[in-house]
Subunit: 452 residues, 2 copies
């Protein structure tokens, strides 16, 4: 970073800390991260100057190495105060992030929180990573059917004034047992007579306000689909008995979707999204090396296949020259089918009901392209080496490899998904092994059989 | 699709049409698409039964071939009525989608719309695809500073009752010239005294409500970043003079982000996201074939490089056996660096200020892994073929190719971005060409120079 940029960055962060300029928590975290690299003493000076609200919001965005700095250099009471400013879901996330770094410290901080916060976090912390409950916050605006709209609005006003509720999108209406019945968008409350009871209002308008909801143990990807399909701003979360537990906002859902997309893109390329967040080149490099080991095994298997035909290559050196074409074209065709299938599985466009037609479509596309490129490459080989037989052999190998690549590119991720394995992680290496082996085997095998 | 699934699908769609069960527009579109494939007569029967609101919302989600069915088989007046039910941005999108299929028909439909709608659509239709204006809707809730809160709320109530406004998240406050001044979240309106003028309320609380906004010609990716960073539900769009023109909701932003992610994933694999939406295997296949042609050229260049060393291969057949390992490991290492760089460019984690450190990091990771795999593969080659020299040659080639792959994997997408080319589209083929050529050239070249 140039001195100018560094100076500008410091000024921006300072202006933010002095409330002269608003930066988003992500921007502050990113800025501090840059500063840590380029000017450690300025970093050590600015970090403790964040106020408690800021510290909390920024800490959520921090990579582990910076969160570690917070734990070590910021007084414990300030961290506790900061956590108290967060909504329950964010507070839980932050405690969990701290737990990953220093379990004892996380316990100390938790024990120093207010009773109410401890109760909320304890309820949320046990949910598994993929469960709706893990994305839920318990702060929400709710009322019972027996209340009047006016009473509910008055309570809402108090909760807003005290700062206990932010970003409210809906009034969730329950029966006296706490079971969720309706969800009324906040801007629709203006349509009704305030003195009426909610029961009366809902007896007339209830059919428009039936609540979308998620069970706390629902898979978050299912919940995200509902939020997206119906353009919801927030969705209620209920327990097995239908009792309202909390809400998930669309902000959380969209963060989840964005992270999922990054995870898919990275995984398809053999990169681990969490390891990449680390500052350490060693950690990120190690995670990538694991993938390269798998790829090396694949490459060695291919070499073994090639070595079976060393005598053929000795007799016709054109085989060595042309063989990468067959493997490479198969790999690319397969990757196309694979990527489309992985993404469509993730966005739920592929379901069990249309699985067969997806496979059929991918096979058909790959087969047609296989025919086209078989002819093309066959002609190239024939003209280049003046051997019609070689042209025929490479054309046949191309068709076999490309058609197979399309078929397996679709079926590998779908099978993995069926067995509960993340298709983005495991599919590419399986596919490459297949297209390489089939590519070399069919080309060199056919050549040996037909030409020699 | 099995008869059972088909029957269930038909029942669901019918229940939706009869208002017995709510499906989302995307679900209805998907269901109809499946039906078209499996039971054309049921499709032809159900499509015209959608009511106008449904028809409009579902039509936006339709692929071209289904939208064509709508244009051909639904009476023009019904389509016009349907378009009138949409918000201005969606109406504009739908007219544009129809334009892509049948320009005359789009013109006819447009001419039949109400004057007000025509005006709105004309204002929106000229924005370029990547401009904020193209994502904006003109329907919003605004008030002038001189008004009292009560007057504004009363107008809001009327607009809500008449159904002209849905999903309102904020009151946008302008001066008398229409210039945007503040944005107050709808749930905060409850905190103020209704009889006060907005000017008075804002003189006290204005600093909390300074409006985030986008210029109509801002790039939508910049706008998406603001909406995400500040967790906005909607963002105001203004013209050059600051006059309020419309708003973009976070629903639109999140659709955009999701589509961008799909586009990146697809483009990295040589797949065109728009062509994949087509039902036609031929169209999707043709778009993929274009990519495969580029890849074929790359593969042929590699073959030409190999052919330069045909005598060396004739003397040491182990070269042919091992050479795919060098190219494949380089390709994978490069793809890791490339993917991380492309994604971080898209999510704005990479800026000009940290470009150098990103390249340095990618090179460092690739270099370290290059050393590790050079040693590993060198030993494998040495043991396998009993030639220490061969082990040394492949180790050197691996290090050169992997380190280069990391460097170019980072620098290729960043340079393309700088020159205004989409990095996800053009990077992979450039990178593969590089890793293949460098891989074969360094391995076979060093082998010829050292071993022969």
């Amino acid at each position: 970073m140039s001195q100018d940029t560094l100076q500008k960055l410091k000024e921006q962060l300072l202006a933010h800390i002095n409330n002269q300029k608003e930066l988003s928590p992500a921007q502050v975290a990113e800025g501090l991260k840059e500063l840590k690299k380029s000017d450690k003493s300025a970093y050590n000076e600015l970090l403790p100057k964040l106020n408690k609200e800021d510290l909390a919001e920024v800490a959520i965005e921090m990579p582990d190495h910076m969160l570690k700095d917070v734990i070590m250099h910021i007084p414990q009471e300030k961290i506790v105060d900061a956590i108290e400013t967060l909504e329950s879901d964010d507070a839980t996330d932050l405690i969990q992030n701290i737990e990953d770094i220093d379990e004892d410290k996380a316990k100390e901080l938790f024990d120093s929180l207010e009773v109410e916060s401890k109760k909320e976090i304890s309820a949320l912390i046990d949910y598994k990573e993929n469960e709706a409950g893990a994305y839920m916050q318990v702060e929400l605006f709710k009322a019972e059917l027996s209340e009047s709209l006016q009473t509910a609005i008055e309570r809402f006003r108090q909760l807003k004034k005290s700062g206990e509720l932010v970003s409210v999108f809906a009034l969730f209406i329950t029966d006296s047992a706490g079971v969720l019945r309706y969800a009324v968008p906040i801007d629709d409350m203006i349509l009704f007579e305030p003195s009426d009871s909610l029961a009366k209002i809902m007896s007339e308008h209830g059919s428009e306000y039936e609540a979308h909801f998620a069970r706390d143990d629902d898979d978050i990807t299912e919940v995200a689909q509902i939020v997206k399909d119906y353009d919801l701003s927030s969705i209620a979360v209920v327990d097995k008995a239908g009792v309202l537990l909390g809400r998930i906002t669309n902000y959380d859902i969209h963060d989840f979707l964005e992270e999922s997309a990054t995870e898919q893109i990275y995984n398809l390329a053999g990169v681990n999204d969490e390891a990449e967040e680390e500052e350490s080149v060693v950690k990120a490099g190690r995670a990538r090396a694991v993938w390269l080991v798998l790829n090396l095994i694949t490459a060695i298997i291919s070499s073994v296949v090639i070595s079976l035909f060393d005598e053929s290559i000795n007799k016709i050196v054109a085989l060595a020259i042309l063989m990468p074409i067959v493997a490479s074209m198969g790999g690319n065709t397969g990757t196309q089918a694979l990527t489309v299938t992985v993404r469509r599985l993730a966005t739920r466009e592929i379901t069990f009901s249309n699985a067969k037609s997806v496979i059929g479509r991918e096979f058909a596309i790959a087969f047609v392209n296989g025919v086209i490129f078989a002819v093309l490459v066959g002609l190239v080989a024939h003209v280049w080496f003046g051997m019609a037989g070689l042209g025929f052999v490479i054309a046949a190998a191309m068709l076999i490899n490309l058609a197979g690549a399309g078929f397996f590119g679709a079926i590998i991720p779908m099978s993995l998904k069926r067995f509960g394995v993340d298709p983005a992680v495991a599919s590419p290496v399986l596919l490459t092994t297949m297209t390489d082996v089939v590519g070399f085997l069919s080309f060199l095998g056919l050549a040996t059989w037909i030409l020699l």
